[in-house]
């Protein structure tokens, strides 16, 4: 569909050269050297958590001379009487809730933008694209004031409501692009069979939209999981804390020499993100490559 004589992407065969050339060795050497520098902080983080706290600083060795799990025991002990698993559970509830809300609301809205003709559609689509560039600071203060007056500060509601109302324009855009690529004949055939928009959306479009739904789910999960500002603003009771703000509290409260436990908790907070990365890296990287989603 995209191939024309002038914009033909390189055929894969042309990229595959036969035989070994010294240039390849140079290339791989250079890339691996950069990779080592880039991944050094990750390796240092992982290995430091296995060292006794006293050995983390002032010690150039990457590998621990003695392996201990004490840091993880401390981190899993939680903060101020609240267990680590409570934070984990709060993060999980918010992340899963966000995925459900974002996927549902974005898919429904995207169907309207992509497949139904009605007056005002172009205008609203333009506005939706405009909100992509809007900094969230423009809305956060009145939102906080209203949620405060409704007594919703210190609940998950302010953090979830926007997800159910399709405020993440990027995901709508992603799905609109995807739906526009599907042939018109699908809708027309379904219409001739007597299907209305609800049927067309639910039985025809939604199953075909699956790749975009998966990409959206992964990014929505990770963004919510790592979100710091929202929980910092709305969650005051440590029982409701998500992992990022719990980690911040932990860092503020623990003595500065206890880096081992701080880093162990930082690692634990990233475990689901690493798991998602390992399982879904193709979806993640392709999502970035084709839609410009950022990490």
């Amino acid at each position: 569909m995209t191939a024309t004589t002038t914009t033909n992407p390189r055929p894969p065969a042309a990229r595959r050269r036969k035989g070994f050339r010294p240039r390849d060795l140079l290339f791989h050497g250079a890339v691996i050297a950069i990779l080592l520098v880039i991944l050094y902080p990750v390796a240092w983080m992982l290995l430091s958590t296995l060292k006794p706290s006293a050995q983390i600083l002032g010690n150039a060795d990457l590998l621990p001379s003695e392996v201990t799990l004490d840091n993880y025991v401390t981190a899993l002990g939680g903060i101020g009487g609240v267990s680590f698993w409570t934070f984990f559970q709060n993060s999980a509830i918010l992340a899963v809730g966000s995925v459900v809300g974002t996927v549902l609301s974005s898919a429904i809205s995207a169907y309207a933008f992509a497949r139904i003709e009605f007056p005002g559609r172009r205008l609203f689509f333009g506005i939706m694209i405009g909100t992509l560039l809007l900094p969230f600071h423009a809305v956060i203060i009145p939102q906080y004031i209203v949620f405060n007056q409704l007594g919703m500060v210190n609940t998950f509601t302010p953090l979830l409501i926007g997800k159910f109302l399709a405020t993440e324009a990027f995901f709508i855009f992603l799905m609109v692009q995807f739906l526009r690529g599907l042939p018109r004949e699908l809708d027309e055939a379904a219409r001739i069979d007597g299907a209305g928009h609800v049927r067309i959306f639910g039985s025809v479009m939604l199953p075909l939209l699956k790749p975009a739904l998966v990409t959206t789910s992964i990014f929505a999960f990770i963004w919510t999981w790592n979100d710091f500002f929202g929980p910092l603003l709305y969650l005051k009771d440590p029982e409701l804390f998500t992992l990022p703000i719990a980690l911040r509290l932990f860092v503020d409260q623990s003595s500065s020499s206890n880096y081992g436990a701080q880093m162990a908790m930082a690692v634990l907070a990233l475990v689901p993100v690493f798991v998602f990365f390992l399982v879904f890296q193709r979806y993640l990287v392709d999502g970035v490559a084709t839609q410009g989603l950022k990490g």
Partner: protein, 319 residues
């Protein structure tokens, strides 16, 4: 993005005139359209447009959440202009945007050019380089970054190994900004993946034609790669610039929630947070929020205006 890259083939047949029934308003479509649009419309009115209007009003008031807002006219704005912390916040943010974004994009472009030459393993490299972008904005990485740059941390160890004076970067107001710029540059993976996708779209034929004409590598880079990639460069530059204005978690964690040392990490977002949610000066913070919106809008307009001069939506000049 993909609309830029995926140009549909020009239709072979002249377009048929739309059937007459299309002209008539289809009420069931209109009803369905607005029904399906409801989630977004509600979200837009309640969580975006409404709050924006409210914060525009609040920007001209004095409001602390407890007493009703007091209209003060332009007072917040005149106070901002003589507020040394506001000016410092702009200085810090501008330095981060102006240095951090080019450094990050240069790294992304450089590594993308390298990976484009890959003769294998590029899928693995792409994923590995992308990992920091996925985790970089998290509190966890900010905690690690702080530990790396603290006194006696690995960076301090490295600089002592090379004979530099000992001392961490975290407590040194001169070096907190380089430290945050490095953290930003470390996350070059996402723009790199986008550059790489763009590079794959550059037609081989252009390079081959240039080689026939005897073009050297730098000529090909200057006259083929850069112009062909200019839409992608534009996209990355706009996105990364706007994102750089909004950095929060890393500066908050690394400064221990203070913006210090010596206000060297007092980013605009941090100062806005302090004013709005620590001091509860909602009117003052709203004025700050609107100034940020206007600055970002202005920069976006400049970017789009300037794009006419240097962005080539190529591919069909020959037709």
């Amino acid at each position: 993005m993909s609309r830029v890259l995926e140009r549909p083939v020009a239709p072979a047949l002249p377009p048929t005139p739309p059937p007459r029934r299309r002209r008539r308003r289809n009420w069931s479509d209109i009803r369905a359209g607005y029904a399906f649009l409801t989630p977004w419309l509600l979200g837009f009115v309640l969580l975006t447009a409404g709050p924006m209007i409210a914060s525009l009003y609040l920007a001209f008031t004095d409001y602390n959440l407890f007493a009703p807002p007091q209209w003060v006219g332009l007072d917040n704005f005149t106070r901002l202009l003589s507020d040394p912390d506001f000016l410092q916040a702009w200085k810090v943010t501008a330095a981060y945007v102006l240095v951090g974004t080019p450094v990050k994009l240069a790294a992304a472009f450089g590594v993308a050019l390298l990976l484009d030459k890959a003769t294998g393993g590029s899928g693995f490299y792409r994923s590995a380089f992308y990992l920091p972008s996925l985790v970089g904005a998290s509190v966890s990485i900010a905690v690690i970054w702080k530990a790396m740059f603290i006194d006696d941390g690995p960076i301090d160890g490295l600089q002592q190994f090379f004979g530099a004076a000992p001392g961490g970067w975290v407590g040194d107001p001169e070096r907190t900004m380089p430290m945050l710029v490095l953290l930003s540059a470390w996350q070059f993976g996402a723009p790199m993946v986008i550059f790489l996708a763009g590079l794959k779209q550059v037609p081989r034929e252009l390079y081959e034609a240039a080689e026939v004409d005897g073009a050297k590598a730098r000529h090909k880079f200057r006259h083929i790669t850069v112009p062909m990639l200019s839409p992608v460069i534009f996209f990355n530059l706009l996105l990364e610039t706007i994102n750089a204005f909004q950095v929060f978690a890393s500066a908050f964690i690394i400064s221990g929630g203070t913006g210090g040392p010596a206000r060297s990490t007092l980013f605009y977002t941090l100062y806005l947070y302090f004013r709005g949610f620590r001091d509860f000066q909602m009117g003052y913070a709203s004025a700050m929020a609107w100034i940020l919106v206007l600055v970002i809008a202005f920069i976006t307009v400049i970017f789009f205006r300037s794009s006419k001069l240097w962005v080539h939506y190529g591919g069909d000049e020959g037709r």
